[in-house]
Amino acid sequence: MHVGLTHYLAVSTMLFCIGLYGVLTRRNAVAILMGIELMLNASNINLVAFNRYVAPGAVGGQTFALVIITLAACEAAVGLALVMAAYRSLETIHVDEINVMKW
């Protein structure tokens, strides 16, 4: 059976939902960032799949995916730096314990 666009989209969808679940439910800040990485990966798969199946002559999808990877890296770096800074002053990295600005 031929592997079509829908297969890849299905995979990326599932990966995205798993990542979403992780973002919504995890207490650890790092774990949330992991979930975000999964979601970004899912969107990357989407982009590349569309590039391959809908417009194989162009490289826009792959280019976009590369940019996303780059930016994901930046964001992970900055985000983790923030986690470290927060950990230093608040002594915790469980986001539900960080409620200094809560009413």
């Binding site: 979403l20 995890r26 790092v30 590349v48 199946y53 890296a73 900055v78 923030l82």
Partner: protein, 163 residues
Amino acid sequence: MGELAAFIILSCVTLIPAVVVVTSGNIVRSALSLVPTFLGVTGLYILLHAEFVAGIQILIYAGAITVLLLFVIMLTAGGTGTRIRQVNEQVPLGAMAAVWLGFLILLVIFRTPWQSAATAAPQYNIASVGTAFLTDYVLIFEVTSLVLLVSLIGAIIIARREE
């Protein structure tokens, strides 16, 4: 046929560790489970004839980001032990939302009549990507490098210990 088998194997390699990532009680195990996930994604990219992306995926994701995550886990005390509760109170609702969203998107995907392309892929993937970066998408390229610089500096400043 072989492609389908490869696809299924790679999908499982991607998805099952992904589940481990989000459900494991041990944060280190979660982080380490990211590696097979990323590798699976790499395989998918190769199946999609996006070799350069696959390469970069391994380099950046499986290499840099995973290590970075592990570094931070070590530097913060949140990684120790499985006795600490790792999930918050939103589990049922979050699970429901994820499942529903997945279901709906799948529904939309399977309903939509996708059009197949007529053109063929270029011969050398890396060359075309490189050319595109330096001609059509040169602005994006430059801005991305700027963003890298900024995030580099920013991460250093944020994570720096106040002396």
